[in-house]
Symmetry: C2
Subunit: 193 residues, 2 copies
Amino acid sequence: MDDVRNRILDNVKERLDRFGFKKTTMDEISKDCKISKKTIYEHFKDKEDMVTCLFVRECHKAMEIIFSHMGEIEDPLEKLIQLIRTSVWYFREDIFITRLLKNDEALYSAFLSRKYHALIDQEIISIIAAIIREGKEQGKFRDVDERVVAYAGFKLFQAFSYMRTGEFDEEKDRQEYYTNVLIDFVINAIVKK
Amino acid sequence: MDDVRNRILDNVKERLDRFGFKKTTMDEISKDCKISKKTIYEHFKDKEDMVTCLFVRECHKAMEIIFSHMGEIEDPLEKLIQLIRTSVWYFREDIFITRLLKNDEALYSAFLSRKYHALIDQEIISIIAAIIREGKEQGKFRDVDERVVAYAGFKLFQAFSYMRTGEFDEEKDRQEYYTNVLIDFVINAIVKK
DNA sequence: CCCTTGTAAACTATTATAGTGTTTTAGTTC
DNA sequence: GAACTAAAACACTATAATAGTTTACAAGGG
């Protein structure tokens, strides 16, 4: 049952987010979701595998959502703006994925740390690069190195998503403002004058 | 050195608030405040003693602050209002003490749980009771059972402090509003018409 | 020099935890 | 209701982590 698997992962996500890898125990997980430890080990090889599966799931979910918000748009510029908007929004909504991208060590065991944190990073960067290439081909964007610019852009709105940490939500409009500044900045950097 | 002691307790407070008693280790504490484990055990008998000392310290701090905001006021009614205001404010400011009063089990080992959670409870209730008695003697308050009413009052504004959990701070004025309703309610319950 | 004060690190006894069997229970099909 | 199935509950082990202790050592202060 994929249902059970996801229920387990939901609980793992919560625990991991609160306590980190080391302080999260299998017994707690099994109590949390009222599933016997034995069953958990039927779904996942071991603790690390379980956490890895969670990472993969979360990354896919993020990608799907970001994609689905970009689906019908044709113009590469509009596409890019939408991508930034959705990403910033989603990263703000889901603290966990933000920490994952931030490579927050508490979430991982030492082993996992290097292996999986770049999972979405690369994928999103590729998408951005593709959009930029499209814009270049249509003569709308300047002739920039799309990989490098995509990387820079990604790191930028990643940084903007992190900003949330520690702040309160009275800042909601300021968030909006920052996002717009970011979009403006990126657009000006690549669009032909 | 009382300074060192407090530095240790500050770190314990932070860890305890984040991870709870069981998930907080002595090694972490010693690393956190760059004090050797040996030294920690010179200041505190054991882990439970350490946490108990933190509780006592936090309770005293709370009492001092609540007292100091009430110092000069003469009129028992004004005194009571000020007491409510300060308490609600302070409990909101300091999540830790709120959890302590709430008897949040994660903070304690099983042993401590019952022994210390009523520390401030009783003290604050006594203060409230004293104020009510004062008001009665001055003929300003109705002839209520001061202990019981004090208990009820305390439980009430405790509940109002807890409300914070999970909400965002856009609610700041609503907090103010609730506090006023609470004051109004309590006052009407005890003041002579 | 000695004495204090504290750190760093090694060490032990105890406990907790990951991971595996084994037994019970609950639900389902025949 | 018997026979079967899947998962929960429980018990168990080997290993790792942790509370608490001890030892060796370093820095300062008289």
